[in-house]
């Protein structure tokens, strides 16, 4: 049970790091000059966004590995799916914390600024990918489809990012300066280390979630195979005993 202990340690570390983060972020660090205490949301918003990109990056990488004939293996498809699902959860949370932060700073629950818009699009893009994964069909055909879909989405990301960025910067020349000041608060000392801790803590949590979600996918796969075998066996039995 070596790997079981390993993940358990990982999980404990993650929870501990998150606890320390909460204390540092909410109590120890000072409020920002411009945003006051609203800046504390950044200590979780930025890590959530970072992990989101890591998760989708893993999905893309696993998809490539599945498609290359030399490395083709079912586990890559399962990993891609697991990572994407976690990615979508983190994307939703990124949107939530981003929206709440926007409410404190600009008084509205949503603005069409470049970052929020891109994140919203990312959310829908990968929701679509997850929906495609849930369709029925032959396992290998499905896995191939999933991998191609993941890549089709991933190559879109830089284009989406660039186009949304242009769109918003060309239309908001005046408020851009304000946006920049708010989005990049002057971070020094304890604030910097807290931000780093935040990223580290959430990455640990992501790793733990990924390992378990992957195992869940593996189990689900086996149950499905078993269900299929059982159905085939039952059919065969019916035919042999002339039950139909």
């Amino acid at each position: 049970m070596r790997s079981e202990t390993g993940t358990r340690v990982l999980g404990t570390l993650a929870v501990a790091a998150l606890a320390v983060l909460a204390v540092m972020a909410l109590v120890v660090t000072p409020p920002d000059v411009n945003q006051q205490d609203a800046v504390r949301l950044f200590y979780i918003h930025v890590p959530l966004a970072t992990v989101m990109y890591v998760a989708f990056g893993i999905t893309a990488l696993a998809s490539v590995l599945y498609l290359l004939p030399r490395t083709r293996a079912r586990k890559w498809d399962l990993l891609a799916g697991a990572s994407a699902e976690i990615g979508v959860v983190f994307t939703g949370l990124t949107l939530l914390t981003g929206s709440i932060w926007g409410r404190t700073t600009w008084g509205v629950w949503w603005t069409w600024d470049a970052r929020l818009t891109t994140t919203a699009l990312l959310f829908v893009l990968f929701l679509g990918y997850l929906a495609l994964r849930r369709t029925t069909g032959d396992t290998d055909a499905r896995a191939k489809r999933n991998a191609i879909a993941a890549l089709a989405v991933s190559i879109d990301l830089p284009i989406v990012h660039k186009s949304v960025e242009w769109w918003r910067t060309l239309h908001q020349k005046s408020s851009l300066l304000d946006e920049e000041t708010f989005l990049h608060p002057h971070i020094h000392g304890s604030m910097y280390w807290t931000a780093m801790l935040g990223i580290g803590a959430f990455v640990l949590l992501f790793a733990w979630l990924l390992i378990h979600r992957y195992r869940l996918a593996l189990l689900a796969d086996r149950v499905e195979d078993q269900g299929l075998e059982r159905a085939i066996a039952e059919r065969r039995a019916e035919v042999l005993t002339g039950a139909r």
Binding site: L67, L121, V124, L125, L127, G128, Y129, A131, L132, T135, T136, G137, D138, D140, A141, K144, R145, I148, A149, L151, A152, V153, I155, D156, I159, V160, K162, S163, V164, W166, W167
Partner: protein
């Protein structure tokens, strides 16, 4: 390969001409969308005229969904898919052919919608060079991405609801860029539009290339 692609495109277009679905259903639908926008937005206060470029491209997107669904519904009937695979045609050629046919249909629809916008929304066309290039590149991009996703969703029972969910977010940059470029053209400042055209070009190149490469693996063993 190009010859095969042309054969493929020709076949799809001939089926369309014979069945007249595009003329009898999709084209009227396009005009209907333009009319509905007028109901939704106040024609008197100039909102329609100002939003004309964006509304045009949204209408094009809706029509593209229909055209793509149609293109793959044709294949799904009567084991036409297996015939396709066994025909020995290069998958890249199949992709280019199907995408080409869809692009051609969209092109015709865009001309129709353009006329609709001029007449119904009271918007004169300026900057024709920019408009034409925008339309060409955006259409190629839409057709390429659409053919790819159409193939991904083809044969699935949830195809009708899945395709829009998959395709529309992916082509959001096309909507963005095409609208900005069109607005620049119509507004008389084409210089602002050309950077967006570059983006449309990049999108088109990436998705045509990806489609050509991915169609092979996609077509083998698809049930």
């Amino acid at each position: 390969m190009w010859h095969d692609a042309a054969v493929m495109a020709g076949k799809d277009l001939r089926i369309e001409l014979r069945s007249r679905v595009a003329t009898n259903q999709v084209a009227p639908f396009a005009l209907l969308v333009l009319v509905l926008f007028a109901f939704a937005l106040d024609p008197d206060r100039g909102v329609l005229a100002r939003a004309a470029a964006g509304l045009f491209w949204v209408a094009v997107l809706f029509c593209a969904l229909l055209a793509i669904q149609r293109a793959f519904a044709v294949e799904a009937t009567d084991g036409a898919r297996d015939n396709l695979r066994l025909s020995g045609l290069d998958p890249a050629a199949i992709f280019l052919g199907k995408a080409g046919a869809i692009a051609a249909e969209l092109g015709v629809l865009e001309v129709l919608l353009g006329a609709g916008v001029v007449v119904l929304y009271n918007r004169a066309l300026h900057g024709p060079a920019l408009l034409v290039v925008t339309c060409v590149l955006a259409t190629i991009g839409l057709a390429a991405a659409g053919t790819l996703y159409g193939a991904l969703a083809a044969g699935l029972r949830v195809r009708e609801t899945l395709l829009p969910l998959l395709l529309l977010p992916v082509v959001a940059p096309v909507l963005l860029a095409a609208t900005r470029a069109s607005e620049a053209a119509l507004g008389g400042s084409p210089g602002d539009g050309w950077p967006w055209v570059r983006l449309l070009g990049v999108f088109a190149v990436i998705y045509v290339a990806f489609g050509v490469v991915a169609f092979g693996p996609l077509l083998e063993e698809s049930s």
